[in-house]
Symmetry: C3
Subunit: 271 residues, 3 copies
């Protein structure tokens, strides 16, 4: 698995996949820049009048719940169904699901209508997608007693999708194989959009392969490793503004060699 | 007052208040990052379908007029009334009020429906909230003959709120006490969102105290001091891009000690 | 022409033109900061309820198609007609036109209703405005066999507007004179919003002169030269995050002297 993920860094810069993202207005610029930094081409339109046409040109579709409203949800359904029909991979980021009844209801509805190849969230969001009753605080993760790896594996089976659970250790599972990634830095939680950008990276990698498990591993670990590299360079008189700039620097400089050298990954096989 | 404001820097990092912000699409990312930098947790949803649910989880609510439309105003009213009912502090940033009839009418309407604990604007915006007839140029401040301190004190009494008037010297008043803060740097006017971020900081501090006067002083002075610190580091070959990054750096590094050392504040007591 | 463009750098900082921009939610913050960096004052409101009032205060109006929807288009029509009636210059950025039927239809409609003094796009967007049938890939440029200079000249005559075609070499034409600008750096394509920011700069310069050809040359070349200057400073361990910060630095430091020294421009006279 490590080798198949590593090869994606070359492929993504060769093919420059077009990644259509229907996302929130808070971190949309960050997601576009992260997509460009890793080698993809972002397009962020969300009008129900044109998303079907746009997704037909795309290599992957990312649906992000950060600031959903009825219009964005209408666009997500149209784009998601179109992508499903054309075998274009669809990636879900259920931001803040569990925080309000609206989010929980709408994501349940969307999961019924659209098939997702990859889903990325924090532990409480993924737990909630499975029908759990943890109360989410705003859009941040709550506290759970199950490990990220176990949660990812259970969710992958239940949701019939590759599932990424982000946290201190990230877990990626397709239900049979589960990778635990021990990279990252706490500063990633002090900058908005690092979760959304991780999903954008996963979407970009899924635009150049059918191995969605490898795409998910490559995407989430790129963000966590970039967080480590950016934090390592931080001088004593610098803060989260500089960290954020160096994070994009690190993504734009990431390649197969750096990734192979930095990634700390363990794979478990479920029975 | 200086001591009570200083203590908020410790409290905000301990409690990590959730700050719900219904704000504009221009500077929303900056506001989220400023909130995180000082130690809060931002959530920026603005759908009328879920803001009541979200504000119930929040420690403070910020309503920002930067790019209002009918839907955002509907969400502001719902969220504002919910916050009032639950004693969650509500902060208003009347961006650009006075520039168009729509803004002036809508802010007047909102002031009737929602009680604000803190209001922050530039002199022409605050003057307009009081029914003044200065013509605002775009979203920038016009020219007024009254001092910021006097304007803040009058507005605080008239609007029954703590009022912050930003400018070369910032003024904060609860109608009885008025603080004049002599920090800041002209470069703050060459970067978009510094006013909005100041309001986000005020909102974050108001999430950990009932002393809204202290929260307002802590918030507005953090932005002005951070502007000074960022400008002081600027090299000859750098410009407003680097200044903006260092501004967030300075906010993320701000603490009680730095604030006590840097703040230039005078308090007047009104009779 | 070179001299008349050069003089605009002084004028723009003296007059601080108010530039009303109805633009996309991806790069709106970048556009506001670019406008401020060169010396303008941005206002980005897009509610149909107030754009007519706002544009009356403005020195220029920029309409950007990045994330159009029906509401934004309604606002663009109102603002565009108001600007036309008041002789306020209107600048069009037809982002992604050609990618979807919706975009192509809507821009055709808008061109019928509003007169544009300047239009800026990449080659495939401009080609599409002229009725061409190149298929656009997302919002990026496709491949065309006509030179940017020839395309700009033809488009200027057909669309009765100054036309800027951005690319490896930028071309600006009023139909009679065509300037070819040989500045720029490939890194500009690895950061989102550089096209939109170029249009924002063009809009800002057009707010201080009636010579829209000179304004277009000054705006597009400022972006291309700033890309060169930012790339030249990039250290080995830096990437696109730092490049983007230095790009804004370079815009904020641009002046008549730097521009005269750096610009590589050739003017052709059409018969």
């Amino acid at each position: 698995m490590k080798v198949s993920a590593a090869d994606l860094f070359v492929k993504v810069r060769e093919r420059k996949p077009l990644v259509h993202q229907i996302t929130n207005f808070v971190t949309v610029n960050d997601c576009a820049n992260a997509t460009l930094a890793i080698g993809g081409s972002p397009v962020m339109t969300s009008s129900p009048r044109e998303v079907a046409d746009m997704v037909k040109l795309a290599d992957a579709l990312v649906l992000n719940f950060g600031t959903i409203d009825d219009k964005a949800l209408e666009a997500m359904e149209i784009a998601g169904k179109t992508a499903n029909a054309l075998d274009i991979p669809v990636i879900l980021d259920p931001v803040g699901v569990g925080a309000t009844a609206y989010r929980t209801e709408q994501v349940t509805e969307l999961l019924r209508k659209v098939n997702f190849q990859i889903i990325r969230g924090n532990a409480s969001e993924i737990h909630r997608l499975m029908g759990g009753d943890i109360v989410t605080r705003g859009v941040d993760s709550g506290e759970l007693t199950i490990s990220n790896a176990e949660l990812a594996a259970q969710a992958a089976n239940k949701l019939n999708s590759v599932v990424v659970v982000s946290g201190a250790k990230d877990a990626v599972s397709d239900g049979k194989h589960t990778s635990i990634i021990d990279n990252g830095n706490l500063l990633l939680t002090n900058v908005t959009g690092t979760g959304c950008m991780a999903t954008a990276l996963i979407g970009t990698f899924s635009g150049v392969t059918d191995d969605f498990y490898a795409a998910a591993v490559a995407g989430i670990s790129t963000m966590s490793i970039s967080g480590e590299l950016a934090a390592a360079k931080l001088q004593e008189d610098e803060g989260t503004g500089t960290f954020r700039v160096r994070l994009i620097d690190a993504i734009s400089r990431m390649n197969k060699e750096t990734w192979m050298h930095e990634v700390k990954i363990n794979e478990e096989i479920q029975n």
